[in-house]
């Protein structure tokens, strides 16, 4: 059947497109908000204006990113009603409830203090401003938590019974703390931290290459790299643990990720395919380059542990293999690359101190260029990771309980084509414009204005009843 006339495919394509676009923005918002809070707290505590200038500079990048994240997220929430009506009706008691929590507890908190954080520097005391930044950071992290509760419940539904087309909640605690939540939220939250550190390191490297503001960007570069030495390997460990858990919770997804068609026989080990050409029609790989025993070792920590192959599942219960298989490999490669860059740079900072000073650091061309590449690598990793997670869940919208085809609204095909096309045009234009403006911010660089007032001296603030204009 022609995919562009298939309503289920069109609704999936639309949601997938919106989601893949949306997820490019909030992770940086979440991680950067925490970093901004740290910088601002350092300013308030030490009164060192360096931290103030750092906070102001990264806030500009935060601002562009936040705006695009908010407006691209709005359609996701509404998509459940417009395109996934039967799913919404079936799962609303839990899933809608959780989205309700997210909006009222977290999203509103973020929005309620965002104006003060971005435009309130001259209008509130430094302490109050720090509080506002803290609320934005807390709100965005809490928002990620509730969203991951909702998403992980779709991966490993618990605490519900599916009766007569309706998910009836039997246990809220089990439903919220479903088996995937710790891994799902942990992996996503760590991704937010990691991508923010990568952006700080990469952008700092950009200035160091250009020999601009080296005294300003060398410290941010160093601290981001040092933090990444801990965060990047930790993220790989969390991911590995999440992958291992799939053997129990979503074995078909695991088999698809590894392009493993047949369960290994007792006494033998399941091999790990580095590369393969999966052939779903014939239920085999046309060819593969694999290392024996490794999949068994990774999943079961025993070289001959049993790992279920895809042929254990009926054809109609199998996820597509190609995207999870390659998406996973791309994600892992990107994650390892970032960890490698962090470790090698730490070694330089430790053993080659004379090359890493403000007046000498720009000589390390390849190292700094490598950091420029970590930025796209981190974004590719997030996109690839979500493709693995969501395509690997297919053909289920709620794993093992409700099929994606049962969850879709019957919207006429021409209407779906119109909305998909509209989203693609709008998002592409917005994405390009955001990148252009981001480039403008980078070209302009930091502004070293004096702070409007010294931190924590509320009585000295002039109360000026006027609106900040757009300068």
């Amino acid at each position: 059947m022609d995919l562009l006339h298939n309503p289920e495919f069109l609704s999936r394509a639309q949601f997938g497109f919106i989601a893949l676009f949306h997820i490019l923005w909030p992770p940086l918002t979440i991680g950067l908000a925490l970093i901004l809070f740290g910088l601002e707290a350092a300013w308030v505590k030490t009164k060192n204006v360096f931290y103030y200038h750092q906070a102001r500079f990264w806030t500009k990048i935060f601002l562009i990113n936040f705006g695009v994240g908010v407006i691209s997220g709005l359609p996701m929430e509404f998509s459940f009603g417009t395109n996934w009506g039967p799913f919404s009706i079936a799962s609303g008691d839990f899933f809608g409830n959780i989205l309700g929590f997210e909006t009222a507890m977290a999203f509103m908190l973020e929005a309620g203090f965002l104006g003060i954080m971005l435009f309130g520097w001259k209008r509130v005391s430094a302490g109050m401003h720090l509080f506002a930044t803290g609320m934005v950071a807390f709100g965005s992290t809490l928002s990620a938590f509730w969203i991951m509760v909702a998403n992980s419940w779709m991966q490993t539904p618990a605490g519900v019974e599916y009766n007569n087309g309706k998910f009836v909640i039997t246990d809220y605690f089990d439903a919220i703390f479903n088996p995937d939540l710790a891994h799902g939220f942990g992996h996503m939250f760590m991704a937010c931290i990691e991508i923010s550190l990568v952006v700080v390191a990469g952008v700092s490297a950009y200035y160091l290459i250009q020999r601009r503001h080296r005294e300003f960007f060398l410290p941010s570069f160093k601290w981001a790299v040092i933090a990444l030495v801990a965060v990047a390997p930790l993220q790989i460990l969390i991911g590995d643990s999440a992958g291992g858990a799939l053997a129990q919770t979503q074995p078909a997804k695991l088999a698809a990720i590894e392009a493993l068609w047949d369960t290994n026989k007792p006494g033998t080990g399941a091999p790990w395919a580095i590369l393969a050409d999966p052939n779903q029609a014939e239920q085999k790989n046309n060819w593969e380059i694999s290392i024996p025993y490794v999949t068994s070792l990774i999943v079961t920590h025993s070289p001959t542990g049993t790992v279920q192959g895809l042929t254990e599942f009926k054809r109609e219960d199998q996820p597509p293999v190609w995207a999870p298989f390659y998406g996973f490999r791309v994600m892992v490669a990107a994650g390892v690359f970032i960890a490698f860059m962090a470790v090698i740079t730490l070694w330089m900072l430790w053993r080659r101190k004379s090359q890493m000073l403000a007046d000498s650091v720009s000589g390390n061309k390849w190292l700094l260029r490598g950091w420029l590449w970590t930025i796209p690598a981190a974004y590719i990793a997030i996109e690839a990771g979500w493709l693995v997670r969501e395509i690997g869940r297919q053909p289920w919208i709620v794993y093992g309980m409700m099929r994606t085809s049962e969850g879709v609204s019957r919207v006429p095909v021409p209407v779906l084509q119109w909305s998909l096309l509209s989203y693609m045009v709008f998002y592409t234009a917005i994405g390009i414009a955001a990148l252009v403006f981001m480039r403008g911010v980078l070209r302009k660089g930091p502004v070293f204005e004096a702070p409007p007032h010294q931190p924590a001296r509320h009585r000295d603030i002039e109360s000026k009843p006027a609106i900040e204009g757009s300068h």
Binding site: V68, F80, G96, G120, I467
Partner: protein
């Protein structure tokens, strides 16, 4: 859906959630109403400094205003999943158009700040605001016109929302938002900009009232059961209070505009919105999808409603408090004729 037994606890919880979402809706319509309204009005302003001043009067608060819609979406999804899954499907086109409008105006705020070519982004801000306002009007019109739901599924057509009636509602909503925007700008500006807002106030107020009157007359004609409900005694005495109160507010609004009060016009416009909304809610209660689905049928089971009440209900005063605080921080006026004041 018919399997939901009528029990009094569930009915009470459903009613509470109907009222909470109603409260959110009123807050949203007033706040984002003036927000979108300022955008619509900016299309009729010739020079860039004025449009920039209009945008900067919203710069710090538009995101929070729009977030009330996100909160309505989330709470509606949880408390009344059936409404979420059918009405949004039925109103697919106006909803998507509204979202596209929001996107356009949302990015315009940021890009206007950063761009060298400001007129482009102040125009897209106005255009996006107009698109979103008109689309909301059509969505409301489509909902009042009836969203066809049978057996928990939307069974109508993709263009059901479009009718002469919904065109009228869309004009009314857009005029009402422009009126809110105008009266907001009266509070936030001075000089020539404020004068312009006082002058066009009468016309917008009239357009808004004509549309509200049309909905009031049309509804009982379309739905005989509403006719009976409104005009039976003693109901008629209660229902009559609402148009009287709305008309009283209208008179007070015109008076406030004439006397050039700064805050009163916004308050009276808000009152007109409030009475119209109460009128709609009282007319249709306990229906949540007019003529098709009641709150008891649409509501999630009691355990979800209680759980949400615990998680969200207690936060409502907190949410309102920090939103008010943000307005207090950014109080004061913008004035394009006197650069130094903003």
């Amino acid at each position: 859906m018919e399997a939901v037994a009528v029990d009094s606890t569930h009915h009470l919880l459903a009613t509470i959630w109907f009222l909470i979402i109603g409260l959110f809706l009123v807050i949203y319509v007033v706040l984002d109403g003036f927000d979108l309204g300022v955008g619509v009005l900016s299309l009729f302003v010739g020079d860039e400094p004025r449009r920039a001043a209009m945008m900067s009067s919203l710069g710090s608060i538009w995101d929070a205003n729009e977030t009330w819609l996100v909160v309505i979406g989330g709470t509606l999804f949880g408390a009344f999943p059936l409404v979420y899954g059918t009405v949004l499907h039925g109103l697919y086109i106006p909803i998507i158009v509204m979202l596209l409008g929001f996107m356009l105006r949302g990015v315009s705020f940021e890009f206007h700040e950063l761009s060298a070519n400001k007129p482009i982004w102040s125009f897209t801000f106005g255009l996006g605001s107009l698109i979103a306002a008109v689309a909301q009007g059509f969505a409301l019109g489509g909902l009042l016109n009836g969203v066809e739901v049978i057996g928990g599924r939307f069974v109508g057509g993709a263009m059901d929302w479009l009718s002469p009636f919904s065109v009228f509602v869309a004009i009314g909503v857009t005029a009402g938002y422009a009126m809110l925007g105008s009266t907001y700008l009266i509070m936030k500006s001075r000089g020539m900009m404020q004068d312009a807002c006082f002058e066009r106030g009468h016309l917008l107020a009239l357009a808004m009232m004509v549309a509200a009157a049309a909905v009031t007359v049309w509804t009982p004609m379309q739905y005989p059961e509403i006719y009976t409900r409104w005009f039976s005694t003693p109901n008629v005495y209660y229902f009559a209070l609402l148009p009287i109160a709305a008309f009283g507010s209208f008179v007070m609004l015109l008076r406030a505009l004439k006397k050039r009060y700064e805050v009163a016009p916004f308050v009276w416009t808000t009152m007109i919105f409030l009475f119209s909304f109460i009128g709609l809610a009282a007319t249709w209660f306990p229906y949540i999808i007019p003529g098709a689905v009641t709150i008891d049928q649409a509501a999630a089971p009691s355990n979800t409603l209680v759980f949400m009440l615990v998680g969200i209900g207690m936060l409502i005063p907190v949410m309102i408090t920090y939103n008010i605080y943000q307005y207090v921080v950014f109080r004061g006026k913008v004035d394009p004729d006197h650069e130094h004041t903003y």
